[in-house]
Symmetry: C3
Subunit: 292 residues, 3 copies
């Protein structure tokens, strides 16, 4: 991975460390007005990595550069014991407006368009396949692939003024890839009304229908998200990671296969050092000390 | 298709055009008290087809004749550019009470019973496979296969006095086929309580659990449904159609396959004339002009 | 099955018959403080079997002995016409706290751990595969495999003071097998927040998200659960059983296969004596008399 900068920051001091501007990921991809600026920033402290979509002037559009930058920040030392949970948030009033439409005109080739959508899909799948939990912290509007990003995270916390839409149909570009994540998060009647009309739903409706884990007033958003993140960061990384992988692996299986897979996961989990430590600490009424 | 009458009406004048009584679809099937009457009526205007279950005396039972009439109205010029969205509604206080039990006694052969259930299943699958979105507009009670019909539509809008039940178990006929649609619309604990007890749920509960897209007061039902329909009718038919097909195709797939399918759909969509028109209109801050 | 005692009680008198203490299922398994005590009790009347988790001092932990006792009570004369519905409830303020952690230390072998999880999974699958509906009646806290037990029942009714959690992660043992049932009952964002944080959700939240069928005040819990149970017990056992099996069989299938399976189920159902009796009773406006 190219993202050596993150660890440098992450291991140097005690507080929140903001990553400075990085070199563009590749000269051919990054074509923003500020040369050399990366469209995401990342900081890490106490096991919690905060990745911020940082292109508010472009409504945090998921340009190919943004997607690759997000991918880099997700993959950076993903296996490190120092990383325990990731929060994805955004600068400005728009969480993300989805793809950068300027990249989708016929001035670009179909191959380029295919790269955009494939990269986007890879980022969304990476979130599920990532070894640590990934939380979306949303304060504002999330549309199209931006809504897909929220739907793809393991947990999503939003302020009560946030809203969510898949409005591609308004511009002749049906939100078919966002529909993959949306259709697995909310009932299909809700998904289809959003996809066919392009109209937004409120944070409360999104919570009601399963797109969000929690809704809080805007002034409590960071506090509540950090509370969840700190809780996860205090747990055994190995156990959380094993559990996340097992959850997604069993979900599409038939019931018998799902139980076969997860029963084995439980046996493996019990045999882990942290499994035994946790069980014994509970029986002995003391706090567990995780090995990892 | 036999339903040449619909287009004739649909292309003649400016306003709502009610289809008159048609010839029975087939002499062997239609055995209603008013000879020659079809149990559904259909009208079409501005791209919106309204199919009405029109047998309120029989609580709009989904008799074989009703199912075939509904099927005909759904299939009629389904590929025409003039058709952009379908609304299914009903005359009278009962949206539909489900199968006509008189067709299910042992006075009819098992082959006849099989034809009833197969035709019903075909109509329900046709709704998903249809090229345009299909909206249920419900004002009253929808039970058994009537509830299945609501659950099978892409979008469902209901008045707050509507209710929904799968009461077949009360008459020794478990709602197994309605359970297919219901079990894909609501959580299984909700579906099973409905199926095992036969008790109705309110419109609000149906909304809460995903069976409905929206609930409004009865006096706003038509207005709200038409608002959604007009919105859909204003969009590119080709794009909406491609998106609907992609949504249902990806939904049962594993995540990787789903993204593989829909990424290709996105590339194809971008290459459509209406895809490029929509994107360019957005960039140029003007209204798009759809080719179809 | 060893559980001959239940029928003896069930066929003797008119009222609720409590099963006395049974012999331990096997000397090697049962190691409770009261030798010979079974950790569940069961009674049956008017077609309703009530199985009670009866080890409140151990917070109704799903020890191997508890799981096997529950399995026995579920399987006991499962095919008898006298059994029409099962209620699973619990003594004391905790419905069930999940596995008995003392059985999961490394003092026991991995083979023993595997037996615990496999037995648990078998009990959960047995609930779905059982010929009669199974209702969880919850009044208190249900955690880990206890929450899984609630999620696995066909119907779940809870008092408003109940709560639900999958806190295994706190003790280094991720609730991977509970995640199978939870992930099929609630939206994945809700499931993952519960699994990753271990924090409880209230009965109202559980209802909102599909984990419960109904929430009532504690003082109405038994009355409401019995109302549902009596309703189910009044129906044709054969029809209910056929419908339950069809529902779970079709649910993971693609739509065409699901309709193919259930259309045949409907034809078979219509041909049953109770199918014809129910339809004719309805047409003749009289109460049906079920043959079974």
């Amino acid at each position: 991975m190219a993202a050596a900068g993150l660890r440098a920051f992450a291991t140097r001091g005690p507080g929140w460390r903001w990553r400075g501007r990085w070199a563009p990921l590749s000269a051919g991809v990054c074509s923003r007005s500020e040369p050399g600026a990366r469209p995401t920033s990342a900081r890490q402290r106490d096991g919690i990595r905060n990745i911020v979509l940082s292109d508010p002037k472009k409504r945090n559009a998921l340009s190919l550069a943004m997607l690759k930058s997000l991918q880099t920040d997700l993959l950076h030392e993903a296996e490190s014991k120092d990383l325990r949970v990731i929060i994805i948030s955004a600068e400005g009033p728009v969480f993300s407006s989805g793809h950068d439409l300027k990249e989708l005109t016929d001035e670009r080739s179909p191959d380029y368009h295919a790269e955009v959508f494939q990269t986007c899909s890879e980022v969304m799948m990476l979130i599920q396949n990532h070894p640590v939990p990934i939380i979306a912290m949303v304060n504002g509007l999330a549309t199209a692939a931006g809504c897909q990003l929220v739907a793809s995270c393991d947990i999503a916390v939003a302020s009560d003024k946030s809203s969510f839409a898949t409005p591609g149909v308004n511009i002749g570009l049906f939100c078919s890839t966002p529909g993959v994540a949306l259709g697995r998060a909310v009932p299909r009647k809700v998904a289809l009304e959003m996809l066919f009309t392009g109209e937004p739903i409120s944070a409360q409706e999104a919570l009601l229908h399963g797109l969000l884990s929690k809704v809080v007033p805007a002034e409590q958003l960071e506090e509540e998200t950090m509370r969840i993140a700190r809780k996860i960061a205090s747990l055994s990384r190995r156990v959380v990671s094993l559990g996340k992988a097992a959850f997604y692996r069993q979900l599409p299986q038939d019931l018998r296969t799902a139980y076969h897979l997860t029963s084995q996961t439980m046996v493996d989990n019990v045999a882990l050092q942290d499994g035994q430590e946790g069980i014994k600490a509970f029986i002995q009424k003391r706090k567990p000390i995780w090995s990892q």
